[in-house]
């Protein structure tokens, strides 16, 4: 067939010159309108369903804030901070994770905004940034010198880039200045302290204590039939709490694949969020740390380190400890739904708290808080918490062997963002900025933050959070307030607070937080490779060998000597370990 070019031109010209009748115009407009409506419905439905299924479960700030704020004023021992210093006319722009007035971290700023503005005469401007973009937005602001933000509430992985780039203010002098609100650095857990300091100097004002704990179902563990069946099967009592990951595995195996809650469907042993490009690597580190971090009095070449050899910057991620941790995670993952490999934290929380379909999980402090919401939780009053399990053997690199212990060695952790405030160097209102951060981390505000503001995303760990009876007499908090003000079931609160205290102040060692420049890239590689191992694409050893190779390349590219110096500064190399509050 031959097509004539001229004929084409005629056709096109006919179409272009054709006049549109009113009827056609109306018909076309009608079609467009119908299309727009259908599109809107689809997009709306998508947004709604995505919001309900994919997003983390909503918190219940509204309920609690409305019903208990009045109680707070009566029961919490609040000493209103005296306005020793005022900042009339100043505006403090705070960059934080987007969550709105009821979401994680931003809710804290909205909640205290009016009170702080009244106290200081300054204006607080909350700038919300989606989690995935927070790091890049803050860094870009600093690098380009745009100077939009005075304060940023950041994830600890960002600290290295900010400190070595010279973009954040050292707060040592501010901490000594009596004009500012007081928060006591000795009332913060050691891992949190190490997260916000660099080379012995303070750069962050701590706020959150982002640890991962073990959670399991009280009703299952206290069921005499289940206890008997467990003992018959495994030859030892149902461990309460499970003290090693082997015990966790046995419990998960025992409760997996049968109907233990009488709903007619089989339940699972555990649930977990193991999606790549989300936060799965934290869940892996929670398991692997106890096999890998050898306790010792100081941070040195062989003790209290996990990621790199601090003297050579050789990656340790493919040594026997972390490999055993990954093998354990792979084994554990068999006792949860296969879908976990595609889950971020939201679906996992939903599965454990709202559906009540798993016997145990290990997760952040958000779980017990969500479990108290009667509208979303089926496990209120049925929750037990424990510090993360340990191991009877830890890999000893110095002697190239597994070192045995008489009791399980527990490795405390900060495994998450451990959100804290930093004052950006280019801020024109540094004093006002520091005042805000210090005031938010003062005991009065911090107690409200973890109890009243349910959606705060801030987890307990400071001295003010612990009742003395649950913290060997050290804490200054009050259990009654957790129940009356916070709305917690008393047993749930007791179990949770004791677990937090034991993890932060009674562990044998703790996992150092990787916050050197390039941490995001290093963790991305770990994330990808553990996911490959979990999906069966590689063995644990193969996956971590590849990860180590990536880490070597990243360290080489960034300059090994420089990275070694930063790594040592970031982990407090050579400094003694202090875990107990005494």
């Amino acid at each position: 067939m031959v097509r004539k070019k001229g004929r084409d031109r005629d056709n096109i010209s006919t179409i272009l010159n054709k006049q549109i009748s009113r009827r056609t115009a109306l018909s076309t407009a009608g079609k467009i309108a119908v299309t727009a409506v259908i599109t809107g419905v689809i997009a709306g439905a998508g947004g709604y369903l995505a919001g309900s299924a994919a997003a983390p479960p909503k918190t219940i700030t509204k309920t609690v804030r409305e019903t208990v704020t009045e109680t707070v004023t009566k029961t919490v021992t609040t000493t209103p901070a005296k306005p020793t210093i005022r900042f009339e006319g100043a505006t403090v722009n705070v960059a934080c994770m987007a969550g709105g007035p009821e979401g994680p971290h931003s809710s804290v700023l909205y909640y205290f905004k009016d009170e702080w503005e009244k106290l200081t005469g300054a204006k607080l401007n909350v700038i919300e940034i989606p989690f995935a973009e927070l790091h890049e937005k803050v860094i870009t602001d600093c690098v380009t010198g745009a100077g939009v933000y005075d304060v940023a509430k950041i994830c600890a992985t960002s600290l290295g880039d900010l400190v070595v780039g010279g973009y954040v203010e050292c707060i040592d002098d501010y901490m000594k200045d009596p004009r500012f609100p007081k928060w006591d650095p000795n009332e913060v857990p050691e891992p949190v302290k190490r997260c916000v300091t660099w080379g012995g100097k303070w750069y962050g004002i701590p706020n959150d204590c982002d640890g991962i704990y073990l959670y399991y179902r009280r009703d299952l563990w206290e069921n005499p039939d289940y206890r008997k069946e467990f003992k018959d099967k495994y030859g030892y009592d149902l461990p309460d709490p499970p003290k090693t990951w082997d015990e966790v595995r046995d419990c998960a195996e025992f409760f997996n694949g049968w109907d233990w809650n009488g709903d007619g469907e089989p339940e699972y042993g555990l649930c977990q969020s193991l999606k790549v490009n989300a936060q799965a690597w934290f869940k892996y580190l929670a398991v692997a740390a106890c096999y890998s971090v050898l306790p010792g009095p100081v941070v040195d070449k062989y003790h209290n380190v996990f990621h790199f050899d601090p003297e050579t910057m050789e990656p340790l991620i493919n040594t026997p400890g972390p490999v055993k941790g990954l093998e354990m995670l792979i084994e554990l993952s068999k006792y949860g739904p296969e879908a976990m490999l595609g889950w971020d934290i939201g679906p996992s929380w939903d599965f454990f708290v709202t559906k009540g379909k798993a016997a145990l999980t290990w997760d952040w402090g958000d779980v017990p808080r969500m479990a108290q919401d009667p509208e979303r939780s089926v496990i209120k009053g049925k929750l037990k918490a424990a510090p993360l399990p340990g191991s009877y053997e830890v890999w000893d690199r110095e002697h190239d062997e597994w070192k045995k212990f008489d009791k399980p060695i527990r490795c405390g952790n900060i495994l998450g963002c451990d959100w804290f405030y930093v004052i950006l160097k280019h801020s024109k209102n540094k004093e006002a900025a520091y005042h805000l951060c210090a005031w938010l981390s003062a005991p009065e505000q911090l107690f409200k933050t973890v109890t009243v503001i349910w959606g705060s995303g801030v987890d307990p760990g400071w001295r003010c959070h612990f009742p003395p009876e649950l913290s060997d007499g050290w804490g200054t908090g009050n259990l009654k307030e957790w129940v009356t003000v916070g709305g917690y079931d008393e047993n749930d609160a007791k179990s949770f607070l004791r677990a937090v205290y034991e993890q932060y102040y009674k562990s044998d060692t703790f996992l150092e937080y990787l916050k050197i420049p390039g941490a995001t890239e290093l963790m991305d590689s770990l994330d990808v490779h553990i996911n490959e191992a979990l999906t069966g694409k590689r063995t644990a050893k193969e996956a971590l060998d590849l990860c180590a190779k990536d880490w070597e390349r990243i360290i080489e590219e960034r300059g090994k000597e420089q990275m070694k110096k930063w790594y040592q500064e970031s982990i407090g190399y050579g400094l003694p370990i202090k875990i107990s509050p005494e």
């Binding site: 998508g46 995505a50 994919a54 790549v276 879908a339 595609g342 490959e532 979990l534």
Partner: protein, 287 residues
């Protein structure tokens, strides 16, 4: 040069400034960046072609390129066949034809991110509507997101659902504009429906098909949003597209020099592809 001629240049000036500012300068600056080792906290220095050479040893580049190519081939092929079929079908006269046409184009106007989040709900493995249906009918549960092969399939299904209407619109417009005479001649000559389709419709529609396919290939090679929202590139890096890797390198790892080099490579690939297809298009058009 007369005053009238000078004024011509004055009117051209805004366009020239805009092109220089928004196209030429960023292009040259990113080319410069691609020759440096710029990272956060480090003074950039020129490192020649190292970033380009590194591409040959970076397994994530190989992985993401392979994924992107497979994704493009798979989705564009299915979409083209499907769109062509539906376009021909909707040319027939049947009740509800116009409504069907409008309905079929709706996914194209949906925001890709919203669509991806909707897909998360549909492909949700524990109690999602698709798995519930499969369980009811065949008693099976498909790991739509947690298995590398099914994750690839899920992404392709979402892309096909959204982008088939795009090709459908183009093909339908092409079909509607075809002349009637060749069909009448072929019918008089006793050609069968298939023969008419094979020897009349396809050759006449070829320029339109190539244009549509070319645009869709370019779009598929740049795929980002549905992957970011639906699988995050996982499991592992099995669904990590090339553009997603560029994004991570530049904006998560802040290795801006390397990210610029990766972007230039994509630009070169697209330009080569465009040139080849444009050349082919010209050939077909003048046949």
């Amino acid at each position: 040069m007369s005053g009238e001629e000078r004024i011509k240049y004055l009117f051209l000036l805004p366009s020239v400034i805009m092109i220089l500012s928004f196209i030429i300068f960023p292009l040259i600056y990113s080319l410069y960046l691609s020759l440096t080792n710029w990272q956060i906290g480090r003074v950039p220095s020129l490192i020649g072609l190292s970033n380009y050479l590194k591409v040959f040893t970076d397994y994530r580049v190989h992985n993401s390129l392979t994924f992107t190519l497979l994704f493009t081939i798979f989705t564009v092929s299915i979409e083209t066949l499907f769109a062509l079929g539906v376009a021909i079908l909707s040319q027939q006269k049947f009740f509800g034809n116009r409504f069907f046409r409008v309905l079929f184009t709706a996914p194209f106007f949906t925001c890709p991110v919203a669509l991806s989040y909707l897909s998360i709900t549909i492909f949700y493995e524990e109690g999602g509507p698709l798995n519930n249906l499969l369980k009811l009918l065949f008693d099976i549960k498909v790991p739509w997101i947690s298995d590398p092969d099914y994750a690839f399939l899920s992404l392709c299904l979402v892309d096909i659902w959204q982008w088939t209407p795009f090709l459908y619109i183009i093909f339908l417009a092409g079909l509607e504009s075809l002349p009637k005479e060749p069909y009448e001649a072929a019918t008089i000559d006793g050609a069968s429906s298939f023969q008419i389709f094979r020897y009349v419709t396809i050759p006449l529609l070829a320029p339109v098909i190539i244009t549509g396919v070319l645009l869709k290939i370019i779009e598929s090679l740049k795929v980002f949003d549905i992957i970011y929202a639906l699988t995050g590139g996982g499991p592992g890096v099995s669904t990590e597209s090339y553009t997603m890797y560029i994004y991570k390198t530049g904006f998560r790892f802040f290795r801006l020099g390397y990210a610029a080099a990766l972007s230039f490579i994509l630009l070169i690939i697209l330009m080569i592809l465009f040139t080849i297809l444009a050349f082919r298009l010209r050939e077909v058009y003048y046949e």
